[in-house]
Symmetry: D2
Amino acid sequence: MSGNSFGRLLRLTSFGESHGFGVGGMLDGCPAGLELSEADIQAALDQRKPGQGPTATKRKEADKVRLLSGVFEGMTTGTPIAFYVANEDQRSRDYGELADVFRPGHADWTYFQKFGGIRDYRGGGRASARETIARVAAGAIAKKILWRCGVVIQAGCVELGGIAAPEAADLTDAPMRPYFAPSERMVALWDARVEEARAAGDTLGGIVAVVVKNVPAGLGEPVFDKLDAVLAHALMSVGAVKGVEVGDGFAAARLTGARNNDPLLPGGQFASNHAGGILGGISSGQDIVLRAAVKPIASIAQKQRTVDKDGRPREILISGRHDLSAIPRIIPVLSAMTSLALADALLLQRRMESF
Amino acid sequence: MSGNSFGRLLRLTSFGESHGFGVGGMLDGCPAGLELSEADIQAALDQRKPGQGPTATKRKEADKVRLLSGVFEGMTTGTPIAFYVANEDQRSRDYGELADVFRPGHADWTYFQKFGGIRDYRGGGRASARETIARVAAGAIAKKILWRCGVVIQAGCVELGGIAAPEAADLTDAPMRPYFAPSERMVALWDARVEEARAAGDTLGGIVAVVVKNVPAGLGEPVFDKLDAVLAHALMSVGAVKGVEVGDGFAAARLTGARNNDPLLPGGQFASNHAGGILGGISSGQDIVLRAAVKPIASIAQKQRTVDKDGRPREILISGRHDLSAIPRIIPVLSAMTSLALADALLLQRRMESF
Amino acid sequence: MSGNSFGRLLRLTSFGESHGFGVGGMLDGCPAGLELSEADIQAALDQRKPGQGPTATKRKEADKVRLLSGVFEGMTTGTPIAFYVANEDQRSRDYGELADVFRPGHADWTYFQKFGGIRDYRGGGRASARETIARVAAGAIAKKILWRCGVVIQAGCVELGGIAAPEAADLTDAPMRPYFAPSERMVALWDARVEEARAAGDTLGGIVAVVVKNVPAGLGEPVFDKLDAVLAHALMSVGAVKGVEVGDGFAAARLTGARNNDPLLPGGQFASNHAGGILGGISSGQDIVLRAAVKPIASIAQKQRTVDKDGRPREILISGRHDLSAIPRIIPVLSAMTSLALADALLLQRRMESF
Amino acid sequence: MSGNSFGRLLRLTSFGESHGFGVGGMLDGCPAGLELSEADIQAALDQRKPGQGPTATKRKEADKVRLLSGVFEGMTTGTPIAFYVANEDQRSRDYGELADVFRPGHADWTYFQKFGGIRDYRGGGRASARETIARVAAGAIAKKILWRCGVVIQAGCVELGGIAAPEAADLTDAPMRPYFAPSERMVALWDARVEEARAAGDTLGGIVAVVVKNVPAGLGEPVFDKLDAVLAHALMSVGAVKGVEVGDGFAAARLTGARNNDPLLPGGQFASNHAGGILGGISSGQDIVLRAAVKPIASIAQKQRTVDKDGRPREILISGRHDLSAIPRIIPVLSAMTSLALADALLLQRRMESF
């Protein structure tokens, strides 16, 4: 109930803070018999590692994962798969005024309110993006389940700092490019935008697209746990995400029914995919298409107005090295959450098959 | 697990189909001691009743609710509150080809796939919007819980058929106007748009805004059950919703950090509300601002291409009287889902207060 | 969270009070394609109907069930199956002192404490055994799922008023005898015991055995949701049950390991079944053997000491017609709870064989 | 759903195997502001440590716990509290025939069936009693929550190898005696019984009593999550437990109503406590009294008949050092499970008084 678990049959539970001992989690409900190694998970974590790409800080952390349980002789046993990443630098640095002052755009104020004035203020504590390590680690396992069934997830950036990629961008090679960009041309445009923001001591937001291919029809549940509702929950639970669309999303609100309906064709095909692969909350077998709006990083290199915990007005200048955008590091996280939601739906549907 | 329940401490479970005996539900976890009558629920249901407003069909149904349990001497007892609305016309009309042919834009195909070829095809069965009766009935109870704590929810239409209301529209009187419109001027503009669509045998989508006032700070859970994640789940679970935004939403992706951060002021105030009242997944005490994209109604008065259950290409012309837009009838539903999610978060936070 | 739901994939949610409008429930998660009719459920309800057998009151109620959803053309659709039994006599009789005085052995005092002084005191309200209607109705559906897989549940009385049946009693024909007794001889012994108690204005308890045959090996989950833990939860949740045993139960505590271990034989057989069909919380394929201790009915025809809601000492003589023992009417309820727990475990294990 | 979590608001999730890297868990839902240190948890773990008391093997393990998250400056923060105990000796010893042969009375056969032939056979893997480390660690935190509210849990052995302590034994000092015995006299009797069993290469079972004092009235939920149902689930989920009783338990089945009812007295008191502190599934404010039947340890020092994984008959002699009885090491585990269930019920009831 306290929000540190996600999923029904395939269920991730996570723990850890930014500057505590480390971050970890446990994936429960993974079937027995899946080949799994630390290297599988490490490869996924390396994609969200700090210090990569044009928007990154210079800080480096290895983020080496350890598998603690649930795997025997290289194979999952059906029991909980626990994993752990130690924080490398836990020395209690001088957090100076951060103990007393609320950073604008961060969770400092709201955690203070929620937990009766008690909070681990070091680097945001539990509210830090460092918790996404557990999401990516578990997502790597979920992806192995999906691959078994032929399901493949692609994700990339389709807009950064207000500069959008052309529609229907191909994300196949996105992980190989900076920003998980759909083309080299976008890389160049976004590089310029990033430099501009960096010079201004400012930060950028953007839009991430996730496309899932080869999804079997029939995933998702009627009414409250529609597949799109669960996916929206999954993506919106990632810090910095402020909006989620399925298929044409907000653009669909401007279409008429005649334009928006996707005609069915023989062979389980459709003439178009405005719906983004989900009808009535159930997957149709078409590509699932999602988009998430990512707000700009809250830690800017400018003085900001705020208050301290006694309610007095203060000015704050956040020091330290911070990413200039959540993109691209948020992309593997959104891909992981999509994987977890889909693998869960897939396992659920296998249990509930008609007689 | 089968998706017919919503909420944690305050939990709605619903049942019923479009052309079965009726639609009902049960709200579990409502505290004892709340005054509640059938009239309270009926008033909410009357707002979503068919046959109202310019986009409506001429069909009329009374949708009279009966309270079956959980209330004694006009007061909730802490036990489950069950309610039921009988379907007035259950005669098995001639559903003609609907038993065999999949309507584009509907859940016909996906339910057929999910449930191994078995489905109640009459009027969409469980996938019909008629299930939202249970959401609205339970939402009326949730609202009484919220009112006790001073929380008030406003909802209205801010865009219809591509014609948007001015930004920051005031929704206070929206329920008194057609379309739950923010102004008489928008009513006139939308009337014209609706007539145009009707003449073309087409349907319209739009955008609904929900604003919540006087929310206490501290609601929502860290990490996976962030308040915005739960609200996105709640809204996206309503049929026809294809996108959800919090605060500036997709527009926030285009702002820089310096523009998007909301400076804190003394007294728990903020200088702006780009965040839409939620920071780090926890309510900040500011207004919660949500927007949902509603796709156009799939049942258009035009011939459409599709296939039948044997996979053969077919043409279909959907007969019967259908609404021209999910707006305004979806608005009380989205308001109800917001109420359920918030009342649940409120009850949860009361249990988990710090020592 | 408020305790009105049971099960994971196959989940019963129930509502209703003793003297409200009626009692009902909803079974979610039943797969599509199961033949189901009101008659199937009615047959089960008739077994727990009031006014039957030597321990019964003379009160008669028809308890006619209505199926409200989830079945189409005689077959489950995979959507929630709702059912409802109206209370026949809802007239607010004179409950006299029951509004103010707490009956010993009943939930009057504890509900008063739990719900801040608010309670439906008419006939126990939600705490009445009348809520078990929903258990039996849902159990009838669960049994149809189990039958598909060859699983059969037997239940009967093995001890009443301190008079025990011989060990290893055969329960095959128990439902055909008064008390669900294992033999005619026990019927005679128990008849005498019942007459003795009736003459004394007193009531009796007893022990119920439930035996499940043809259970596939592999049901149940490691650690916290062991099959026996879930079954103990299921049985102990029935009012009046004060103890639950699996296999040899408390007698196993007196055996040594050499006596208690069941040697494995070729062909998935065992040389004995002290374990009662469950090893390490997982079904072994042997018969599952459960026993539940049922306390005597609290409503005796004798004056009792108690207090009223102002804390003053009072004497109470409970009027009205009450059963003399929860046996036999509790037996179909315990059988139903066993069915629900096992069908749920079966669906959960289904297709969960390793990759 | 895979059974590695327990609790609703206060929720333990655990992982780890007997001979993997270690055992750990995470307690979610602990309110902020509770003082907590590794020493608090270590003290509880030391009570279940191997190598203690007359029934123990000679094997020693330190079982040092590490707190990984959720505590800052000595106080809980409201975020997940993770803990971990490394297995000291993970060298893959020669498990010889254990990889192929199923030990009678163990979970070897049922895990093999459940997980499609895949299992970590080293020391029982996940089915080993070593998983109870996580229960005891989390229980230590739950106890601190209970203590805040004045609730105290006592537990001890009341029967071993068929030799029962006198009724109503006082367990106050039990943790200070071998076997958690209620008196020195029982220690002497049980020592003799243990020596007898050891000489025979056999093992013993027994009965554990748990008594909870100062429980507030009103804990537990009506219908399916009655407090006794949840407690039965909690205790029965511990390996080796084959029966659970509340209050008079099976003896209550032999009382008449006039004997079994507990008369209410002024001041929230009762004249007796046959009910064991729970009426209608809700705590009454009296002592909660539970008893659990513990089967004899399955690993005996005698040759046993069994089969191997190809179904061939085999003889097995289990080597290694094994406890002679689950008593006393199971006692802190049963106490911990009681604590977790009660602290959860307490948080759930908190501030749930009616409006």
